[in-house]
């Protein structure tokens, strides 16, 4: 049975190994899609609607077409179509320079008949709201109801009850590299696309379908990727259109979204509003949970969130609806539905614990079915110094008050079939590993090198890893759901093992030993039963000549496992005069099975915490009800954490088992809840709406005083 072996046997796996592309990234040498420039390349731009809801009455491209330097103009909407949100694509151009392209889209004349729009949930849910979807009655989907146990019976057993409304606004992904592609046709039948994507094969298949080509005649390349967080799977409208522009013009075309478009149309995390009534028994058991909630995923649906979350509740009823608004669609965003659900649940848990007069950690221990998290509570509490927290919330003296809070999360990340990989040993001793996954910043390139190097007794830098290219025809799934490492690692491991086996078979006769006795380490193949019999790695591989060894890998269930738990503790300081919340420290305890590379795993946790902190304290998409437009589709008023916001982060990789599990998403889940609870513990007033900005703190404190 395949296994990753014991920790004591691992030379590389589980150690802290610098990312292979790190130097290239910090020196600017790494080429992202944005950096790709092809000979003769044109620049693409998309004209987008500034009106949120309208009928298309006319589109006139002629002036744009006549502008010198414009090579192609294509219409995306047809007369009679409906515009349903700001940012919706109207037409696209390709021109000799980006400036000409920008001028050209302004010369496209669009005649729109404006329709009444709704862009806020409140407006959409109002009695007399204009209906914006033809397929729904009103602007709300049918309620999704779940019932378990006996709700009223549960409440009858409750010693305490809490009733509260929690809200998290829409957040956008803010990929630092915006969505986009460079498309180039070699001839009418062969297309190459450099794509900023989380799924090279997904983009390949989509484009092959769009252009009616055999899939292997489309090549998609993503060497480095500047953030996706779930928003970069298909080619999108911009990807299909840039390929079309390239085909029409017979020249390569680059089309990257503007920052504004990135906020408007490249996805977002849906909002969440939940009105909850919940009860707990006198001995601290969560006993009844009644939740009515809604959220918006824009004009589409998909505004799901987890409620209840993580903790056991025997008697419950939940009812949720999607609210449609004239705003760009949601897309999966790092642990879809979880962080906002966790924020509400962890806030609720603290409110119940307080009514019970119980330490919130004790209350969690009673209700949390996860053994892993139970252990994490102990470790995290120690690390943060939980005993130092205010036993009476808001009890601190002075203007700046400190507090601590805790939050929890869970995720799957077990990976799955669908990856093909090849490991090649060349006669010069070099080793190549190729697979069609992509490194979206999580470090899979380095993880692959580590696995292969471990197998061959080499260094990770000795391994030439090729990912992010559909060309070799070795597919792998999109990097989503925290599945990449768990999907790829087993296949790489078995491929490397098979290649090693082949090499041993060739060398064994020379060493006069059974294949099974051969081992490799320290660039030397040796016989385990007679250590005097050795051959240098390069001497061994040198004998391969033209006949290099190249082996595929196999999926192996035994090498991976799904299911992770995490818990985070936050310490904050609130300036009660100016409402500023400063996070002092986050302790993030995260289970992730076998961490192939402890260093990049810690990085992943750090990144998740920072993203969670942004959601907790800063980020919110602001829609203007009157104009129907987003007011902060930039990085000035849509605020993301910067260096000043980033606290001490203690990322603890919590070892549980030695099977690979992904953790791309889960570390952002517990953060908002932990911070919100810490703020409450500091000031004794609860802010039930994210983000917790100074205006909310000051308003809450004023209400408490009054």
């Amino acid at each position: 049975m395949a296994s990753w072996g014991e920790a004591s046997e691992s030379r590389l796996i589980g150690k802290r190994i610098p990312r292979l592309s790190g130097r290239d990234k910090v020196t600017g040498k790494a080429k992202y899609t944005f950096d790709i420039n092809r000979p003769g390349m044109l620049y693409g731009r998309i004209l987008r609607s500034e009106i949120a809801h309208a009928n298309v009455v006319g589109v006139d491209l002629s002036e744009a077409e006549a502008l010198p330097g414009v090579k192609a103009v294509i219409q995306i909407v047809e007369v009679g179509n409906k515009i349903r949100y700001q940012g919706q694509e109207i037409a696209a151009v390709a021109a000799e320079t980006d400036d000409i392209a920008k001028d050209a889209i302004r010369l496209i004349h669009v005649d729109l008949e404006e329709l009444p729009h709704v862009v806020t949930e409140a407006d959409a849910m109002a009695e007399d709201a204009p209906q914006i979807r033809d397929d729904w009655a009103g602007n709300q989907s049918n309620p999704n109801v779940r019932e378990e146990g006996d709700l009223e019976g549960g409440f009858a057993q409750a010693a305490v009850e809490v009733e509260a409304t929690y809200h998290a606004p829409v957040q956008t992904h803010v990929c630092l590299e915006t969505h986009g592609n460079v498309a180039e046709w070699e001839d009418e039948q062969n297309l190459t696309v450099w794509a900023s994507t989380q799924g090279v094969f997904g983009v390949r298949n989509d484009l092959a379908g769009s252009f009616n080509l055999p899939a292997n005649q489309v090549r998609v390349i993503t060497e480095h990727m500047g953030g996706g967080f779930g928003s970069k799977f298909g080619p999108g409208v911009e990807g299909r259109r840039v390929a079309e522009l390239a085909r029409i013009t017979g020249r390569p075309v680059k089309l990257m979204l503007t920052r504004k478009a990135e906020h408007l149309v490249a996805g977002n995390r849906p909002s969440m509003t939940q009105h909850v009534r919940a009860g707990a028994t006198g001995d601290g058991r969560l006993i009844a949970y009644d939740m009515k909630g809604h959220g918006t995923g824009g004009i589409s649906s998909g505004a799901g969130f987890q409620a209840p979350y993580v903790y056991d509740v025997p008697n419950l009823r939940t009812e949720r609806v999607n609210v449609a608004v004239n705003v760009g669609n949601q897309r999966a965003m790092r642990a879809p539905g979880h962080p906002q659900g966790a924020f509400a649940m962890d806030s609720l848990m603290d409110e119940l614990a307080e009514k019970l007069g119980m330490n919130p950690l004790e209350f969690r221990r009673i209700n949390d079915p996860s053994e892993v998290r139970q252990a994490q509570y102990t470790l995290g509490a120690q690390e943060i110094g939980w005993h130092r927290r205010n036993s009476v919330p808001g009890a601190g003296t002075g203007v700046k008050k400190r507090g601590m809070g805790v939050g929890s999360g869970q995720w799957g990340g077990g990976g799955g079939r669908g990856t093909q990989a090849r490991v090649t040993i060349n006669s010069d001793g070099t080793v190549e590993a190729v697979t069609g996954t992509q490194d979206i910043g999580t470090g899979i390139r380095t993880a692959i090198a580590i696995i292969v190097a471990e197998e061959f007794g080499l260094a990770p830098t000795d391994i030439m890893v090729t990912v992010g290219d559909s060309g070799p025809g070795l597919p792998s799934g999109g990097s989503g759901g925290s599945q990449t490492t768990a999907s790829v690692a087993p296949v790489i491991k078995t491929a490397a093992a098979a290649a090693k086996q082949k090499l041993f078979e060739r060398i064994a006769p020379q060493l006069n030993a059974p294949v099974g006795d051969l081992r490799v380490g320290n660039r030397t193949i040796y016989v385990v039963s007679d250590r005097t019999k050795t051959i240098k790695w390069e001497l061994a591989t040198g004998q391969l000549g033209m006949d290099s060894i190249s082996e595929g890998g196999e999926w192996d269930e035994e090498l991976r496992q799904g299911g992770v738990a995490g818990t985070q503790f936050a310490e904050v300081e609130v300036d009660t005069e100016i409402g500023e919340v400063r996070v002092i420290k986050i302790v993030a305890v995260q289970d992730c099975g076998l961490a192939i590379n402890r260093l990049t795993t810690e990085s992943q946790i750090n990144g998740g915490v920072i993203m969670g902190l942004g959601q907790a304290l800063l980020e919110e998409r602001l829609m203007d009800a009157l104009t129907g437009r987003m007011l902060n589709a930039n990085l000035e008023d849509y605020k993301v954490p910067g260096t000043f916001e980033i606290p001490e982060i203690k990322s603890i990789v919590f070892d549980t088992h030695r099977k690979v599990t992904g953790i791309g998403e889960p570390p952002c889940i517990p953060t908002p809840g932990a911070i919100a609870n810490a703020v409450y513990n500091a000031i004794g007033v609860r802010v039930r709406e994210l983000p917790i900005t100074p205006d909310k703190i000051l308003t809450a404190l004023a209400e408490k005083k009054a």
């Binding site: 800063l618 008023d637 205006d695």
Partner: protein, 326 residues
């Protein structure tokens, strides 16, 4: 952005001659460009000609002597922040400069540009929203989202003046040297800024054919203490939710004179005569400083989303006053 022609300035005469008669918006001045470029890129401004001031010789000097400070309009925000005399004797100004934007922007953004920068209001910065400031019919902030808007002196336009340097300089009693076709004039910086009731379209009295060339600051008084306190949502870059520039002349814990100018709360830097009166001649303690804060905002008229600024401003003022006592 639209196409424009670009002229390197060679002399003030040349600049005012190029500016004259064109009115606002046809010919524009560019210094560091950190504000203007964003307006051009968003098509909020579409000038035909840009005059690059950076080629004017000597206008970036900072002179500090017994007669006070003279800062050329082209001095960068970073130059001001790190100037040793300013740090020591005009602390409020160094602190204000240090709080501006980011190192990159401070390195290119100039004093003149900082004082003449345009509003950050999100309706104003959206090409497609034709609000009152741009000659339209309504101020969208009144019924729209107004978290960052004015609580004082608003009507009919509720922008806040974005400059951090202006409140600090006004608190220090600075004046401004302006050159126009008729020559040079000097006016107090406080009077340079105007409220929308007087002119909803501009934030100051500069004429379209004039240029700001220098700021002069009188010598710092002995025993004076000054502070710039800026509240923001994020460390950097972020404009002030509210800020206080305060200069106090202290005799022990007694405040002999106070100069308190607010940023981020009104369409112009806002001198709080009420706070000054509440502090002047008083032994400053918790009660007095709180009173000063409360007096400063008693006429505040918040919009839908910015009532928090009333408390915030009040608290910043009392904090600044208490800092003067220690």
């Amino acid at each position: 952005m639209e196409k424009f022609s670009y002229v390197n300035a060679t002399s003030l005469e040349q600049v005012t001659a190029l500016l004259s008669d064109s009115g606002w918006g046809e010919v524009m001045l560019i210094a560091g460009g950190t504000d203007l470029l964003a307006e051009l890129k968003e098509y909020v401004e579409t000038p035909k000609t840009l005059i690059n001031l950076k080629t004017l010789p000597g206008m970036d000097a900072i002179e500090a002597d017994a007669s006070g400070l003279k800062i050329g309009a082209l001095a960068t925000v970073a130059d001001i922040a790190r100037h040793p005399t300013i740090q020591q004797h005009y602390t409020v100004l160094a602190q204000a400069a240090g709080s501006v934007a980011t190192p990159q922007i401070r390195n290119v953004g100039t004093l003149g540009g900082n004082l003449c920068q345009r509003p950050r209001c999100w309706y104003y910065r959206d090409e497609n929203t034709h609000c009152l400031k741009k000659g339209g019919d309504i101020c969208y902030a009144v019924d729209g989202l107004s978290k960052y808007h004015a609580i004082l002196g608003g009507d009919p336009v509720y922008i806040v003046h974005p400059s951090d340097l202006a409140p600090a300089l006004i608190a220090l009693g600075a004046s401004l040297k302006i050159v126009g076709p008729e020559g040079e004039k000097t006016m107090s910086l406080e009077e340079f800024f105007t409220l929308p009731a007087a002119n909803p379209f501009r934030e100051n009295v500069l004429e379209p054919n004039e240029i700001v060339v220098e700021v002069q600051v009188p010598p710092a008084k002995p025993n004076s203490k000054s502070f710039y306190l800026k509240a923001r949502e994020k460390g950097a870059p972020d404009f002030a939710l509210a800020s206080v520039a305060a200069v106090f002349e202290m005799d022990g814990k007694t405040c002999k004179s106070a100069s308190v100018v607010l940023g981020g709360v009104a369409p112009a830097p806002w001198r709080s005569k009420e706070a000054e009166a509440a502090l002047t001649g008083k032994m400053v303690d918790d009660t007095v400083s709180k009173q000063a804060g409360a007096d400063a905002v008693k006429d505040a008229q918040p919009l839908n989303d910015n009532a928090y600024k009333v408390t915030l401003t009040q608290n910043l003022i009392s904090r600044a006053a208490m800092m003067a006592t220690s």
